[in-house]
């Protein structure tokens, strides 16, 4: 890994961490645990700038750091979700060969993220499992909406990032 790439990735990780922490502290009224997932924007940018490996690295590092600076027990939820969602976006990006735009990638990443957390909840909290599964439709709907918005933001950012724009 050359120095430039390392520095850029570190910057992306710190950006994503700050976004993630900021977002969880914003005093905007929102339904309980639903979040936009702004850090996903950075994962998408890492994917566009480099490759799957970069995207997964940025997502996982962000989850770890945000966990350390935020609420540690939440790592059990955020880390697996970061891993699976960045992996799925990377694989889809490669497999779909430009057929899915960055918005499609973002939406699918968000859905995988939410469903992963649901699975963790299902296995970790043994209490009242059927009511946990009943949340699935709500979580998918929320993920589609949130993924669409973060995809739009990522698209806007990438349009204004010269080095990335030339590669997409």
């Amino acid at each position: 890994m050359d120095t430039q790439k390392m520095v850029r990735l570190s910057l992306l990780v710190s950006l994503a961490t700050v976004l993630s922490i900021l977002e969880s502290q914003l005093p905007i009224p929102r339904p309980l645990w639903l979040r936009l997932g702004l850090a996903n924007v950075i994962t998408l940018i890492a994917l566009m700038m480099y490759d799957i490996k970069a995207a997964v690295t940025v997502a996982c590092m962000r989850a770890l750091l945000a966990g350390i600076f935020g609420t540690l027990p939440m790592l059990a939820f955020s880390f697996p979700a970061a891993l699976t969602s960045s992996l799925s976006m990377g694989v889809l990006y490669r497999v779909s060969g430009q057929r899915l735009s960055i918005i499609g990638l973002s939406v699918s990443g968000a859905v995988v993220h939410n469903l992963t957390q649901l699975m963790v909840a299902y296995f970790v909290l043994s209490l009242n499992r059927s009511s946990i599964l009943a949340l699935a439709p709500l979580l998918i709907l929320a993920a589609v909406a949130a993924g669409f918005v973060t995809g739009l933001i990522a698209r806007y950012v990438i349009r204004h990032l010269p080095p990335v724009r030339n590669w997409v």
Partner: protein, 124 residues
């Protein structure tokens, strides 16, 4: 690719369809209940069908709690406790809904299709 493609739209529509389908299943698929269970201090004391309208009294540490079944719904009519949270919960009629009176140690819950004769949880 930065523009929204046909495949994006297909993906989004597909996901929305799946979500709505699941929502339908959750709402109407498991939405029936026909049995109410009353527990005192964790011990099941009454298991009754919702089909028959009736009123009965259950003994707790504080005294008698009056419970009513009417029109496939259940409520606590009267309770010897302080805050009457159980009474104010009102009617319940969906699977897994619960009325709890902590002071009088009474739990009224509706069974779902998933937990007939099965444990609903074990705690250490």
């Amino acid at each position: 690719m930065l523009r929204l493609t046909r495949y994006d739209k297909l993906l989004i529509i597909g996901l929305l369809a799946v979500a709505l389908l699941c929502l339908g299943i959750v709402r109407y698929g498991v939405g029936r209940t026909d049995t109410v269970v009353v527990q005192v201090d964790g011990e099941e004391v009454i298991r009754a069908s919702l089909v028959e309208d009736r009123r009965f009294w259950v003994d707790g540490p504080l005294g008698k709690t009056e419970i009513e079944i009417k029109g496939k719904r259940v409520r606590v009519v009267d309770s010897p406790c302080d805050k009457k949270i159980c009474v104010r919960t009102g009617w319940i009629d969906k699977p897994y809904q619960t009325i709890i009176c902590v002071p009088n140690r009474i739990v009224v819950r509706l069974l779902g299709s998933g937990d007939k004769d099965k444990l609903d949880g074990i705690t250490g």
